[in-house]
């Protein structure tokens, strides 16, 4: 506020009231600055500067040779991004990631909402017990989960194929067949993640006033109608939160394919993040990997904006 022009002196009217009105605001701003400084400092050191650095990195071909001598890094401008556009593996990874996020995301939300509705129903006993059971997969280490599911999916000895065999379905090579590998990973992820969202929905459902349901019931609305016209609108903010968080998480798909399939077969489960990891930390092509990271960043930003718009329109 120091840059503000000095108040003009007016002989007829003293203007001191202006000063009185603004002084507290300036003090407040200063206080706010002080309180913000630690957070702002941390954000710029650990977020803004690294982001800027990786943006610059993405405009170079920094790689293992550049580790030896910086002179071996070249400025390539948009070269990495142009290469990405022509890179079939990147497109494959992008399609896989969208497949995972757009199929797995809604499935997870639906599964968690379904579980929450069941748990909130007055017919269910031992609700606390089931809540814990459903939540358990979420707090289990992903690597452990992935290894157990790998056994479940085993084409010869897996429990899943054994069960399918009982009803006459031929064994499916879940993780070894390019068509089945992604669905298999989606099913596992839904199972692993729905518990967390379910808890949020359970909490949100408790805040829906019972009178609404009673009134609707008196007006002759059936269960389906009550769900669509009361539950869903009342859950609006929770739905938006869960949807956005789940989707952002799913666009960053990495550990599941990394542990279970290494991105195969035929790259059917290579996600954008996995591809970025491979390029960056396995092959040390940091410049190229940084450009993948930026494209992913932009995709997530756009997807979040679309989703927010969508949710707002609905509300």
């Amino acid at each position: 506020m120091a840059a503000r022009p000095p108040l003009r002196y007016d002989a007829d009217h003293t203007v001191e009231y202006e000063v009185v009105r603004h002084e507290p605001a300036t003090a407040q701003t200063r206080a706010a600055m002080i309180f913000l400084a630690p957070a702002a400092g941390l954000i710029s050191v650990f977020f803004l500067i690294p982001v800027l650095a990786s943006l610059i990195l993405s405009l170079t071909d920094f790689d293992i040779y550049a580790v030896a001598s910086l002179g071996n890094a070249r400025f390539v401008g948009a070269g990495n991004y142009i290469r990405l556009v022509h890179d079939p593996v990147f497109w494959k990874a992008l399609v896989n990631t969208f497949y995972f996020a757009l199929v797995g995301g809604p499935l997870t939300v639906a599964a968690s909402l379904g579980a929450a509705l069941l748990l909130s129903s007055k017919l269910v006993r031992w609700q606390g017990f089931f809540r814990t059971i459903y939540f358990a997969p979420f707090v289990t280490t992903l690597v452990a989960v992935a290894i157990v599911w790998k056994y479940l999916y085993h084409p010869q000895y897996g429990l899943l194929n054994f069960a399918l065999g009982k009803i006459g379905v031929h064994p499916i090579d879940w993780l070894g067949d390019p068509h089945w590998a992604m669905p298999a990973i989606i099913v596992m992820s839904v199972w692993k993640n729905f518990g967390y969202n379910m808890l949020i929905f359970v909490a949100a459902l408790q805040s829906v006033p019972q009178e609404l349901y009673e009134a609707a019931e008196l007006d002759g609305a059936n269960a389906v109608k009550r769900f669509w016209h009361i539950t869903v609108p009342m859950l609006g903010p929770a739905l938006a939160f869960v949807g956005i968080v789940t989707m952002i998480g799913y666009f960053q798909l990495f550990s599941e394919p990394y542990v279970m399939t290494q991105g195969g077969p035929l790259r059917a489960t290579t996600s954008v993040v996995l591809y970025m990891y491979e390029e960056g930390f396995r092959w040390w092509r940091m410049g190229f990997a940084a450009s993948i990271a930026f494209v992913l960043f932009i995709i997530i930003a756009i997807a979040t904006m679309i989703q927010r718009r969508f949710v707002k329109a609905e509300a």
Binding site: I64, Y65, V67, K150, L175, Q262, G264, L266
Partner: protein, 389 residues
């Protein structure tokens, strides 16, 4: 690294007794972290004096300028006699005519097979040519002794590259500037390899999907698999005692049966010295010590690794053991893979191409052509650097 890092501790007291002024500090690390640790150590100017280095990593660290040339030291050495080492493995340590490492222990790939199943199908002698090898696998399948002739995981590149090297395929051309996988020599090896899948001799599975290799081998799911020396110990440990003589190892067949055995990959670990070392004299003394035949033999007994020099094989009596003798035969004909830092990346592209062709996504010709194009792009940086050197 790995088990070696642990075991080498036991050899050090003898060295320190002989060199009372030197103290050796060993840092152990798991294989999975070793590469990154060495690289970040180099960036942070915190490299050790000596390191064990997987010999496919030598070109990469040489490119970084991290390694000390050892040629003169070896020529002056009374302990290290290069003719006692396996020539193919020795060559993996030579980049641009300069030596950067001394082989410590070696490995290569060969075929483990179920002797009993093959004998039951009428195959009593290890096949010496590709045709005989294929025939043997078909026979064992036809006799219903094994479901598959051989396991060739779709995410491994060693097998097809070894076959290519047997044909004399250059793999890369122009001093490692371009891919040359469309070369007829490699194309023939590639065709043979792909046909093993297409004709139902090998299953199209990756190693991720084999939950227990030893169990499947025991059950006769496949009659052969290709792997390295560490499996000798594993098979002895994991198969029931009654099956001790049911399996054996054999060198790779050669394309037409002449020049048997066919070449395989030159692998293993070397001892290298970092250029930044401040104790080069002492470091070299330690490398020499660990390379004495007696120490190599002792080390082999402790780890089960195969020693880098033949005199140590005799001392450790490994040449008398029928299950390791196959390795001795094989190690006398091994070839290094191209010595460019990009090799591992290129190698993954090779098995991806195999998988694409096997699953019918590309013809052999198109697959190899796009592999070459891909490799050409990977090597672009290298071409630029070589042009500006």
């Amino acid at each position: 690294m790995g088990a070696e890092g642990e075991v080498v501790q036991k050899l050090i007291p003898e060295f320190e007794r002989r060199h009372p002024e030197v103290r050796v500090r060993i840092q152990q690390m798991p294989w999975t972290a070793a590469h990154e640790k060495l690289l970040t150590g180099f960036v942070g100017d915190a490299t050790p004096d000596i390191t064990q280095l997987g010999n496919t990593w030598v070109p990469e660290f040489q490119t970084l300028g991290a390694l000390e040339p050892l040629g003169d030291l070896v020529r002056a050495s009374k302990v290290i006699d290069s003719t006692d080492y396996f020539a193919g493995v020795w060559r993996t340590n030579v980049v641009d005519d300069t030596l950067y490492g001394v082989p410590w222990y070696v490995d290569t790939r060969l075929i483990y097979y179920r002797k009993d199943l093959l004998a039951a199908a009428g195959v009593t002698e290890p096949p010496r040519s590709w045709a005989a090898w294929r025939e043997a696998m078909l026979k064992v399948q036809k006799a219903k002794k094994a479901k598959w002739g051989i396991l060739l995981p779709t995410n491994e590149w060693g097998q097809v590259i070894a076959l290519g090297l047997q044909k004399g395929a250059p793999l890369l051309s122009g001093g490692g500037r371009y891919g040359s996988f469309s070369d007829p020599k490699f194309a023939e090896a590639f065709h043979f390899y792909v046909s093993l899948y297409k004709d139902g001799i090998a299953p199209t599975v990756s190693s991720n999907e084999i939950s227990n290799l030893f169990q499947e081998f025991e059950k006769g799911t496949f009659a052969m698999f290709i792997s390295g020396p560490w499996q000798v110990g594993e098979l002895r440990k994991r198969l029931p005692a009654s099956m001790r003589d049911s399996w054996a190892a054999m060198p790779l067949p050669s394309p037409d049966g002449s020049n048997y055995p066919g070449a395989s990959l030159a692998g293993g670990s070397s001892l290298s010295m970092f250029r930044a070392s401040k104790h080069k004299k002492e470091a070299w003394a330690l490398i020499e010590f660990l390379n004495e035949p007696e120490q190599q033999a002792k080390f082999a007994a402790l780890t089960g690794d195969l020693p880098g020099r033949e005199s140590a094989w005799k001392l450790a009596k490994l040449d008398a053991d029928p299950q390791t003798r196959a390795f001795l035969t094989q190690l006398r004909n091994v070839e290094p893979t191209p010595k460019v830092p990009e090799w591992e990346l290129i190698a993954t592209r090779v098995f991806e191409t195999v998988e694409r062709v096997v699953r019918g996504r590309a013809s052999e010709k198109d697959g190899l052509a796009s592999l070459d194009a891909d490799v050409g792009r990977i090597l672009e940086k290298r071409r630029w650097l070589l042009a500006h050197r």
